[in-house]
Subunit: 327 residues, 2 copies
């Protein structure tokens, strides 16, 4: 029996623009998914108690045809099952044991569906734990690649390499197209995350940006300006100059707002954090609802967000320099 | 005795960027300053009851050395006296009556200091009323030019021609550098204005944009993108396509936010209007506090803003196609 864990992520800079070849900087955060894998004779048994699915335990045979009887919304459940199914397929392939059976237990303190990379973290941790259980040790890069294949299969080709690479490697990451690499020398970023309890429709938000960008040159320029912010931000990242990083986050948020992907609750949380003295704050992920990330090394933004209407939960989650690891 | 009136304005597009040579589109609104001028033997008597100065009556001699004893903040009062003094100087020059005395009565339903062009409207109406009282009739263009000289004198060279031209001519106006012209064919724009009761520090806001623009290419690109929105908006203005105009207003607001000139209350009002179905909403003027303008031909945004925390007052103020006029 092996337990592995992997972190969630926020976007410090560059979401949405990354779709058009601009660079982006996701950062791993100290919120993790933990997956325990135990080899069994055949089939697949999945237990999950903390995926914000009100707790479910799934037991079904290896072909995925079984339908569990649990108290959780059908789409979330299908998604969770889909990820684990595909992850186990990758594990069987990597270890060359096509009929390996597993009992998988999933715990996560990353809010699900909030744009914090919870599915990538589960997949990355599951691949690591289950391959180790079979006596195979994959590099973080190999896990990232296989986890990306899982997300690509489940998300119908809409997946980005950013989440899985960031979760596997940890730290601050630079993504540009298919090129992912760790940004060296970044060991501390005092993130505070506010969550409105909801989620935007990622597909619709991405489509909205695409149509603005196709219709208006100034929207295409705005996407490019986000890329320029990322390039500027990279040069500041290792310096510990949080003031400048925060200013760049604020600017990035404004450009995302212009592209139509902010929301009333996101803007409300961003202002609560800024007014409380955060060095910067922006939405993170697809937008339309979900999470903001603020940069604050005091407790003030955290406290302010706690009392901000529309902010359902708030927590500190510093940069996590550890990627996937055996527990 | 002659009474003239002139309208206030909102920026449909382009504030801040106009400082760097981009075009902007201020629009006159159905909120007016009314000025009554009566020739008297000598000196200057000013009565003002509705400048949001808690009502004051000022009586002093022509050289402006007298200090009135009224219940109003010193800077606001000095500003108001400065505008009227300079306006009367322009009137004496235009009519070639260097020692003409006036009793001036000012009423205004344009909130003072809210970025709605109240000072320009007072100056424009005062010049029109007082010159007419002396039997001289100036064109709207001549009034705009003299009113601009007044603002330039009072505002230490920081004045824009936009406010005074827009107030003198009415309607939608295109400003680019010193070139101001009326946009033809625009006869209706269903504006709703929300006011947070405050005002940003215009000088600091303009300086903030300047320093961002000097430091970062992406900020300069953002300023240019605002200009592109204006050019796009111009082509839509006469068509009555409010949906597109609203989308452009929303985008413009996001870019202004990126440039750091929005505020918590402005964003809160903008979202209240949008969520209530307004076709678009943005801050108007220097930002940092003050007013937003929404485009809505129903009563919904008005009602929503009425109940939005931080919105001190809200009113409908359609496009006013009339500029300065004798009442």
């Amino acid at each position: 029996m092996v337990t592995s864990s992997a972190p969630g992520k926020v976007y410090l800079f560059g979401e949405h623009a990354v779709v058009y070849g601009e660079p982006a900087v996701p950062c791993a955060i100290e919120r993790r998914a933990r997956v325990t894998a135990r080899e069994i004779d055949e089939g697949l048994r999945i237990h999950s108690e903390d995926l914000k699915l009100d707790g479910f335990t799934v037991e079904y045979d290896g072909d995925g045809a079984g339908r569990p009887d649990v108290d959780a919304s059908e789409p979330l459940l299908e998604a969770a099952m889909g990820y684990v199914n595909e992850a186990v397929a990758q594990v069987r392939d990597a270890a060359d044991v096509p009929d390996a059976g597993f009992e998988i237990r999933i715990e996560s303190d990353i809010p699900l569906g909030a744009g914090l990379g919870s599915s990538a973290a589960v997949v990355v941790a599951a691949i690591d734990a289950a391959t180790r259980e079979l006596g195979v040790e994959l590099s973080a890069e190999a896990i990232a690649e296989r986890a990306y294949q899982v997300e690509a299969a489940v998300q119908d080709g809409e997946a980005s390499r950013a989440d899985t690479f960031c979760s596997a490697k940890g730290g601050a990451v630079r993504v540009e197209g298919d090129d992912c690499r760790t940004v060296d020398g970044v060991d501390n970023l005092p993130f505070v995350i506010g969550y409105d309890g909801g989620a935007g429709d990622t597909g619709a938000l991405v489509a909205g940006v695409r149509s603005l960008r196709e219709e208006y040159d100034f929207a295409a320029d705005t996407v490019r300006a986000i890329g320029d912010i990322v390039r500027e931000g990279e040069s500041v990242l290792g310096s510990g100059d949080y003031e400048t990083l925060g200013d760049l986050m604020d600017f990035n948020h404004g450009l995302l707002s212009a592209l139509g992907v902010s929301s009333r609750s996101l803007d409300s949380m961003v202002w609560a954090a800024r007014d409380a003295g955060a060095m910067g704050a922006k939405l993170t992920g697809a937008g339309g609802g979900g999470c903001i990330v603020a940069l604050d090394d005091t407790d003030d933004a955290l406290t302010a967000l706690k009392y901000t209407p529309g902010c359902e939960s708030v927590f500190r989650a510093e940069l996590d320099t550890d990627g996937v690891r055996q527990e």
